[in-house]
Symmetry: C2
Subunit: 92 residues, 2 copies
């Protein structure tokens, strides 16, 4: 299983637009066959730091996801609104 | 639900000791009533970067966990072997 931790520090005042985009991306991503889990979180100590914790069946599922229209269409818009730190892990 | 992302960059040569401690901590932590999930990962690109992705029922469960003998006994040993970056999130 592949887990992705995507931490977003959102620019001030852009939280609402960010959440709209991330929810749109989440809905489409969860519908993918290889998606096990796709959960949005907020940092306990900050209203502008969010984190997607995603679980994917395998690397092929991640590769497929990264080439979907929703990913390629929405992620560039998200990166305009937030600084992203992406870590990709495998379970051991 | 509270999710904790604990990223560890382990000192060179200390991976085996680190994994022994983290597995001991994981076994005891998963047995706690408030623990939903406690999964150890390795970074895809590095053999010395690991990540615990933990899910807890609520903040009370996290507070209980942080005061258990296994946490207070093992975590100080782990911090000797690895640089830890801990992020705490709530689902939204």
């Amino acid at each position: 299983m592949i887990s992705i931790v995507a931490k977003f520090t959102v620019k001030q005042g852009k939280e609402t637009s960010f959440l709209q985009l991330i929810n749109e991306l989440g809905e489409a991503s969860r519908a993918e066959a290889g998606c096990i889990e796709y959960i949005l979180h907020k940092d306990l100590k900050s209203n502008s730091v969010f984190c997607l914790i995603e679980k994917w069946k395998d690397q092929a599922a991640v590769d497929f996801h990264n080439n979907t229209p929703h990913f390629t269409g929405i992620v560039p818009q998200i990166v305009e609104l937030a600084q992203a730190e992406i870590d990709v892990y495998e379970t051991i």
